[in-house]
């Protein structure tokens, strides 16, 4: 496992993203290793979501390369690209559930389209995923517009997990969840990672999540990745923004809570 752990599963080199004259990323480098939980943090508007979208191939970068599983997604023919995309699970910031389908149908869709399950089987499996994501049994028949913000996040996680992906991309997964739900969410991610060897790419502002489950933290600032290392190394870096982020009142509270949890 240790040899596999150091294997790079996502490799970003020299990434440049700009919208008009506004440069979001400039020569950004990032490595994500197989089986790790990587948190990407940064102030608002530093391009965390843009980075995620470039990696999963929704945005074509102005220059630079993004290689996932050693392949450049945007250069692949459509069929091969689709095969790779099936190994992603993506949880978008606002859930991005299909609003005209029920929660169960949202989860069933990839199972029928890609895993070629029969509909009754796909529904059974979808119910397991929905339960795993922590939704009550009656949520499956509801439409996204009938769900609360936290439930939408859970339903979106259930859909992201539908195909048992290799890499899970989570865009602010715990934003809008209550603290109990957020803690359960963190534990679920950890369990899935340990059981399935998932790689998790996590964009988050939630310091509790960072302290509890992440292996490494990448800090986006000044249009690039300032540092990508273990939490301790990142928190020790001499940078004003990082110091304020990790040692401000919220950062201190989260670190105390995480330490307290470990000593129990």
């Amino acid at each position: 496992m240790s040899a596999a752990a150091s294997e790079t599963i996502i490799q970003v080199r020299g990434l440049v993203n700009r919208f008009g004259t506004h440069v979001v990323h400039e020569n950004l480098d990032l490595d994500v290793r197989r089986g790790e939980i990587l948190s990407v943090v940064g102030g608002s508007g530093t391009g965390k979501s843009v980075l995620l979208r470039s990696i999963i191939g929704l945005i074509r970068a102005a220059s630079g390369s993004v290689r996932v599983f050693g392949e450049d997604l945007l250069a692949l023919p459509a069929a091969q690209r689709s095969l790779l995309e099936r190994r992603f699970g993506v949880l978008f910031q606002k859930g991005a559930l299909f609003s005209s389908l029920t929660v169960t149908e949202n989860v069933v869709l990839p199972l029928i389209e890609h895993a070629r399950l029969s509909r009754p089987e796909a529904i059974r499996l979808a119910e397991v995923k929905i339960a795993l994501a922590g939704l009550p049994a009656n949520a499956g028949d509801k439409y996204p517009s009938e769900l609360s913000g936290g439930m939408i996040k859970r339903a979106a996680l259930a859909r992201a997990l539908a195909l048992d992906p290799d890499i899970l991309f989570l865009d602010e997964p715990t934003a809008g969840l209550d603290p109990i739900g957020a803690a359960a969410f963190d534990q679920l991610i950890l369990t899935l990672r340990n059981a399935l060897g998932l790689t998790v790419f996590l964009v988050t502002h939630d310091l509790d999540t960072i302290y509890t489950i992440t292996d490494r933290v990448a800090v986006l600032a000044q249009k690039r990745v300032l540092i990508n290392d273990s939490l301790a190394a990142v928190a020790a870096l001499d940078d004003d923004w990082i110091q304020e982020y990790f040692h401000g009142p919220r950062g201190r509270a989260a670190s105390v809570a995480a330490v307290g949890e470990e000593s129990h």
């Binding site: 609003s99 895993a115 399950l117 119910e127 995923k129 049994a137 059981a195």
Partner: protein, 380 residues
């Protein structure tokens, strides 16, 4: 990583001890194979079975779900607790799936309905929907009129910018399509008249036919139908997306009146735009008819004009123009009302946009028919 091995469940009960060996990959990729085995073995598995998972290579959530179905909640609980050779990660996953599914039964069977019953139910729903639409429309008319009176007395609350913007969208931008369409229809009506009336040697009356039909009916009706398709749908989609995005709720929460902010400017815009478009449609339709008269009947332009001036009374023009504001009011109201009925989903926006176009065209034609009858009885 070595090649994937399809998972399997191997069962034997030699020596009176039931044993179940789990081997290979229990993953989504092998779901079909595993499902067959699970279904075959389920009846033979009871609580005393010994599970050996030491040869289980990979377990994912799909595999865990199948194990849960094979062993039941109790069995999975026991498997997690016992020394079965299951890896640490697999145990945690199985426990998570088992815990999540506690107290959830199998999926209820799909409801079966009879075809006749469904048809009757659809008819019933249809009638109910029609009735509700009528009641909703009347209610919305009242709401809008009361808002109109409230705002109308206070010019400071007239939203002129919004009105002008809407006027440009619904009026100015619709001129080319309205003019072109009515021109073509005018030409077709003239051709029809020329053909039929020639048999009676009365082809000169084609002029009267074109003028009568466009001033009284076609000018306003064609314009209203075009505007219903063009503007009612736009109103519904605009307000509908705002509803889906909670913007309408935000307007309410800011202490503002969505009817005043969203409906009144749109309605006033259409109240101004539709009569103007109708006028353009009348002129353009008569021009289309005139072109045909000049080219195929040899009626010169001055003669065409003098026939209209002498034979066609101004009352026809007034009847036509009088209908325009009524249609405008109804189209704008239906468009806005359907927008407010949207409920959060993309499909809902689509359904209500369709509904608004169908309803507004229906109402336009219905009201036009009623108006024609009244005018006939009154001799206008």
């Amino acid at each position: 990583m070595s090649a994937a091995v399809s998972g399997a469940a191997v069962f034997d009960d030699r020596e009176g001890v039931a044993r179940l060996r789990l081997v290979g990959d229990w993953t989504l990729a092998h779901h079909a194979v595993l499902l067959g085995q699970v279904n075959g073995l389920r009846s033979r598995i009871d609580a005393r079975v010994m599970v050996d998972a030491s040869e289980l290579r990979v377990l994912d959530t799909a595999g865990a779900a199948l194990l849960l179905r094979l062993l039941g909640g109790e069995g999975v609980h026991k498997l997690v607790g016992s020394d079965s050779g299951l890896s640490e990660g697999g145990r945690a996953l199985l426990a998570a799936v088992g815990d999540a599914m506690v107290g959830r039964g199998a999926a209820p069977a799909a409801r079966k309905g009879s075809a006749v019953g469904d048809v009757l139910a659809h008819i019933g729903e249809g009638v109910g929907t029609f009735w509700r639409h009528a009641v909703d429309l009347l209610g919305f008319v009242g709401l809008t009129l009361s808002a109109m009176l409230r705002v109308g007395l206070r010019p400071s609350r007239w939203r002129l910018t919004s009105l002008v913007a809407n006027l440009e969208q619904t009026g100015l931008h619709a001129v080319p399509i309205v003019a072109l369409l009515t021109f073509l229809v005018g030409a077709v009506v003239a051709f029809l008249g020329a053909t039929v009336l020639a048999d009676f040697g009365a082809s000169v009356f084609t002029v009267n036919l074109v003028a009568f039909s466009f001033l009284r009916e076609f000018g306003v009706l064609l314009t209203a139908i075009l505007v219903a398709g063009r503007t009612a749908s736009a109103y519904t989609a605009q307000i509908g997306s705002m509803r889906a995005n909670e913007e309408v709720d935000a307007i309410r929460a800011l202490g503002l009146d969505p009817v005043e902010l969203l409906v009144l400017p749109r309605m006033w815009a259409l109240l101004f735009a539709l009569p103007m478009l109708t006028f353009i449609a009348m002129i353009s339709g008569i021009l289309g008819g005139m072109l045909v008269c000049v080219l195929s009947l040899g009626i010169p332009v001055p003669m065409f004009m003098s026939i209209i001036a002498n034979d066609v009374g101004v009352s026809h023009f007034i009847v036509g123009m009088a209908k325009a504001p009524i249609f405008a009011f109804l189209i704008a109201l239906i468009g806005c009302m359907e927008g407010f009925k949207v409920e959060g989903s993309a499909q809902s926006v689509g359904t209500h946009t369709t509904s608004s176009v169908v309803q507004s065209i229906f109402v336009v034609i219905l009201v036009n028919a009623i108006a024609a009858m009244i005018c006939m009885e009154m001799g206008w």
